[in-house]
Every structure is written in structure tokens, then in C-alpha cells.
């Protein structure tokens, strides 16, 4: 982190200093070899995330969203293009990027507080201090009182909040989330969305969310990037001009419905293409 060049602190820039994007994804291309031939997962996608911005990437299943997530998080190499954070090219997992995964990812052998304190423990922070800091993030995700519990004693939504607190505790410049609420029911998802909005506003946390859920994307985002089905390209970028602070109550409003309809219009075509493709592949396999 010490080596990060001060790209945003150029003299004479004045008030527009904050206009430097924090995360730049430049022309990413990734192809996988499969038994049925090469598949282009990500086809020349570029995007920029501004400091404090909440950007969602939405697309049908199989459009390469998760591949993009893994590339941005540095878990996947061997791709074309460039990912940079605050001007620094990312090679491998980066301290400025915090990841939250789709799957259940708490450590079942650690209590909530020790889960959340994990990145601090790795950084070599003494126990008392890291527990102190962990408490702050446990409080932030609203899990006070559960510090000494084990993940097995919590609900799915609570466990996902533990994962979130753990990643936030590493104080990343950018938070990357890959369908973090996919395994949860709709009501829990909406309420957790409120929590995410609240935390994101409070920390002014720059966030990139990968999702296939329309409501979630519109509820949370400043901008939404709609991806096409194979090859995964940028179909459209939609700016969500709903007022902030937002809560899940907005789901019922006309403006909200308008955005959902607009994005669904783009997405429907892609999703049905994906569905057909999937069906024909299954039919072929049966033969």
C-alpha cells in the first residue's frame, strides 16, 4: 500500500481530484478451453469505478461475471487487458481489494470475532487491538452480541454478514462482491441490501457488486453495467438516479419499477439466449 502512487493528488487539479477513477478495468479478454471448444468468457470489457461509487455488473448466468470478479480480485491470471487500483496495475490478490464470495466462506472453527479479526491477525496486529477493531465492524454489520458464537450457530444471512465484516476489517479501498446474497431468501436479501446501502454510505466504500438480481442491482447501485450472454460484452451502462439515502421501501416506487423494466428489457434478450444455449447443450449431451 505504501508504494501506491498518488495519482489523485496531482497539483493544480483542485476540486476535480476526486474524479480520478479508483478502479480501472481496461479491455479485459479471457477465453477458456472446454471439451466443446474455446469459450470466450469476457470479451473486451472496460469499466471505471469512481471513489465512493457503487457499481453493479449484472448479466445472465454463464455470461462470465464471476470470471470478471476473479480477474479483478487477482485470483485468475492468464488474461488479456489490465486491472489497476489507484493507478497501480494489479497482479495477483491486492491489499486494496477486498473480496466477498458467493459461497458460505466463514471459518467454522473460529468464533465471529476471530473470523472478523482474521485479516488483522494476518497483518500481525496484537490480539487485544484486533479484537477491538473487529468489534467495530461487527457492530457495523449489526451482529453485536454474537461475537463469541460460532458460524454454525448463526443463520445464513448472519454468516454472510460475518464474511462482509471480515472483508471490511481489512479496510480495502475497493469492495468486490460476487452475488453475496444469492443463497438467501428474497426478504432477507432486501433487508441485507438496506444494511449494505447503509454501510456503504457510512464508510463511503467504493463497491463493485456482481449480481444476476435486478431488484438488488437497482436498490444498491449508482450505475449498472449490463453484460451480454456469451461472449460477455458490455451491453449498456445505466445510471440509477434514485435519491439517496435509499431503503428497500423504494422497491415499490414508480421510478424503481421504471429502472427494473428498462434493465430487464436489455437482460431478457440475453437471458433467453443463455437459456436456449443451455438447453441445446443439454440435449446434445443426452444424445
Amino acid at each position: 500500500m505504501a508504494a501506491a502512487p498518488n495519482a489523485s493528488a496531482r497539483p493544480g487539479d483542485g476540486g476535480s481530484a476526486s474524479a480520478e477513477p479508483l478502479l480501472v478495468v481496461d479491455d479485459i479478454y479471457k477465453q477458456f478451453e472446454t471439451p466443446e471448444g474455446p469459450v470466450i468468457a469476457v470479451d473486451h470489457i472496460s469499466l471505471k469505478v469512481m471513489p465512493g461509487e457503487f457499481l453493479s455488473v449484472i448479466g445472465p448466468s454463464g455470461c462470465g461475471k464471476s470470471t470478471l470478479f476473479n480477474i479483478m480480485g487477482g485470483l485468475l491470471d492468464d488474461y488479456q487487458g489490465r486491472v489497476s487500483v489507484a493507478g497501480e496495475t494489479v497482479k495477483g490478490p491486492h491489499a486494496s481489494i477486498g473480496m466477498i464470495f458467493q459461497e458460505e466462506s466463514t471459518f467454522p472453527w473460529r468464533t465471529v470475532i476471530d473470523n472478523v479479526a482474521f485479516p488483522l491477525e494476518i497483518a500481525g496486529m496484537p490480539k487485544a487491538e484486533r479484537h477491538d477493531r473487529a468489534l467495530h465492524f461487527i457492530d457495523l454489520v449489526g451482529l453485536n452480541g454474537f461475537e463469541r458464537r460460532y458460524p454454525a450457530e448463526l443463520s445464513g444471512g448472519m454468516r454472510q454478514r460475518v464474511s462482509m465484516a471480515r472483508t471490511l476489517a481489512s479496510e480495502p479501498k475497493i469492495l468486490l462482491m460476487d452475488e453475496p446474497f444469492a443463497a438467501l431468501d428474497e426478504q432477507t436479501r432486501l433487508l441485507l441490501g438496506d444494511k449494505v446501502v447503509q454501510i456503504q454510505q457510512q464508510l463511503q466504500q467504493t463497491t463493485l457488486l456482481i449480481t444476476h438480481n435486478l431488484t438488488e442491482a437497482v436498490q444498491l447501485s449508482d450505475r449498472i453495467l449490463v453484460m451480454t450472454y456469451r461472449p460477455g460484452k458490455t451491453k449498456r451502462i445505466v445510471e440509477i438516479k434514485l435519491p439517496r439515502p435509499r431503503s428497500s421501501e423504494i422497491v415499490g416506487s414508480d421510478a424503481f419499477g421504471h429502472y427494473v423494466a428498462q434493465i430487464w428489457n436489455d437482460l431478457r434478450e440475453e437471458a433467453s439466449r443463455g437459456l436456449k444455449d443451455d438447453e441445446s447443450r443439454r440435449a446434445e449431451r443426452r444424445r
Binding site: 490478490p93 473480496m99 458460505e104 494476518i122
Partner: protein
């Protein structure tokens, strides 16, 4: 009771067995089985049908057991002063030491190699086959080699215990590595753990159940390997005592030693079980 008795009291009395909780019924069955075995054993012992002490009366066995654990017939010098203890404890100490050493060497080797095999497809592709072939082989066939390499003393017994416990530990560890949820490894990578932290903070804790299972199985076969080796060729250890009683035809003593060994084995297993829960 007098007014309502004809409605409620009647059916409860005859079926005590069915009304009993399952746990209680299991306990009674166990007691019955034990009593049955003792009765048959004593009957055979008293009948005189079998040669002399082949089936000795449990009373004789009990007396022998009492002698083994209480009769001081061995001199040890402790800090300049001489004390007498039952010799059994010396032999138990020897065997325990051998098993503990075997568990340390074989267990650690198994854990490290299991981790390597589980995380490295190249190594597992090259070598894991052999482990599956060698795993079920009775290790006692290596005893002559071990005697040549490590002598007739405790060295060859430790070697037998070591190769016995190595296999279950290495195979459970390798399988355990593969059962670690891949997302936990990705979490570790995203927090930029180095290899050592990956092993100590993610793999080992996530593998705990398989490791404990491996250690449990390993302990069992380490005891078998060590004792078997002691009965073949040695001059100390519990295995030696047992085979010595057999060759001098001291059957009550042999049975008593076997019972003692049984208790020690149960105790050791309980210890591992407690460690796995704690």
C-alpha cells in the same frame, strides 16, 4: 385412586421393559451379556474338560492381575535411593515410549506428506497409488528387515509402529486436504496468506476432523505393530510379557496381562476422543 383406578392403573404394571427408556434397556442387556459370559467361563473352568489352565477361573486371573500391578519385584534407582516397583510398569513404560515415538515420527511424516499429496496433483499422481497398495499390507512382514536395520531393541519396535501408523495418517490427511472447501482457500488467497499461513490458518484447522480420524486409526495400528513386534523378538515391553507368560504356560497371568492391555487401549482411545472434542 379408588375412584378412577379401574381406568388408569391396570395397563402400567406388567410391561416395565417396554416403558423403560432405551438407554436403560441397553444397559440391562449389557449386564446380562457380561453375567452370561462370566457364568459360561466359570462353568468351563470348573468342569475340568480342558487341559489345566487353558480356561482358568476368573478368580485366579484376578489374583494374578492384582499381583502384576501391586507386587514389587523390580528394583529402580531414583535419585540415589532404591525403590521396588512391580516390573509390569517398566514394561508398560517401554511399550508406551515406543508407541509414542512411533506416533510422533509416523504421524508427523504422514501429516506432512499427506498435505503435499493433497495440494500437489503432480506428486499425488506419481506416488499416491503406492500408498494405496502398501496401506493394507500387513506390516509385520517388514519386521525382519527392521531388525536388521534397527537391531533387536526398542528401535525395531518403534520402526514397526511408525510404518504401521504412517499409512492411515497420510491417507486421511491427503483426503482431508481435498475436502477443504475451495472458497476457504480463495478467501486465504484474497487476504494474501503465504504458504505457511495457508497451512496453519486454513488447511490444518479445516482438516481437523480427518486428521483426528487418521490419528485415531494410526494409534490403533501403531499399538498393534509395536506389540506384535514385541511378541516376535524382544526382551522387554508388554508384548514380551504376554508371550513370556505364554511360553511358561502361566495362563492366568497371560489373561490378566491381556485384560490390562485392553484397559490401556480403551483409555488411550478415550484420550484421543477427548482431544478431538476439546
Amino acid at each position: 385412586m379408588a375412584q378412577t383406578g379401574h381406568l388408569t392403573a391396570a395397563p402400567a404394571a406388567p410391561n416395565i421393559w417396554a416403558a423403560m427408556p432405551l438407554k436403560r434397556r441397553v444397559m440391562w442387556l449389557r449386564i446380562a451379556l457380561l453375567v452370561g459370559i462370566v457364568a459360561v467361563w466359570e462353568a468351563v473352568a470348573a468342569s475340568g474338560l480342558l487341559f489345566r489352565d487353558v480356561v482358568p477361573s476368573l478368580l485366579t486371573v484376578g489374583r494374578s492381575l492384582f499381583d502384576i500391578v501391586t507386587k514389587p519385584d523390580y528394583k529402580v534407582t531414583l535419585g540415589g535411593s532404591e525403590i521396588w516397583i512391580p516390573e509390569f510398569y517398566r514394561h508398560l513404560w517401554v511399550t508406551t515410549g515406543e508407541v509414542a515415538t512411533a506416533m510422533t515420527i509416523g504421524g508427523l511424516a504422514g501429516l506432512v506428506i499427506g498435505l503435499l499429496l493433497g495440494t500437489n496433483p503432480f506428486l499425488s499422481g506419481a506416488f499416491e497409488r503406492f500408498l494405496y497398495y502398501l496401506g493394507p499390507t500387513p506390516k509385520i512382514i517388514f519386521f525382519p528387515i527392521m531388525i536388521m536395520w534397527f537391531g533387536v531393541g526398542p528401535g525395531s519396535k518403534v520402526a514397526m509402529g511408525t510404518i504401521s501408523c504412517f499409512f492411515p495418517v497420510v491417507l486421511s490427511a491427503a483426503a482431508g486436504v481435498r475436502q477443504v472447501e475451495s472458497v476457504l482457500i480463495r478467501v486465504g488467497r484474497s487476504f494474501r496468506l503465504n504458504s505457511w499461513q495457508m497451512v496453519t490458518k486454513i488447511y490444518l484447522p479445516a482438516m481437523r476432523p480427518s486428521i483426528i480420524n487418521g490419528v485415531r486409526l494410526g494409534l490403533g495400528v501403531a499399538v498393534i505393530g509395536t506389540l506384535l513386534a514385541e511378541t516376535k523378538l524382544s526382551n522387554q515391553g508388554v508384548g514380551f510379557l504376554i508371550i513370556n507368560s505364554y511360553s511358561t504356560f502361566d495362563m492366568p497371568r497371560m489373561y490378566a496381562l491381556l485384560m490390562l492391555l485392553f484397559m490401556v487401549a480403551i483409555g488411550a482411545n478415550a484420550l484421543v476422543g477427548r482431544a478431538s472434542r476439546g
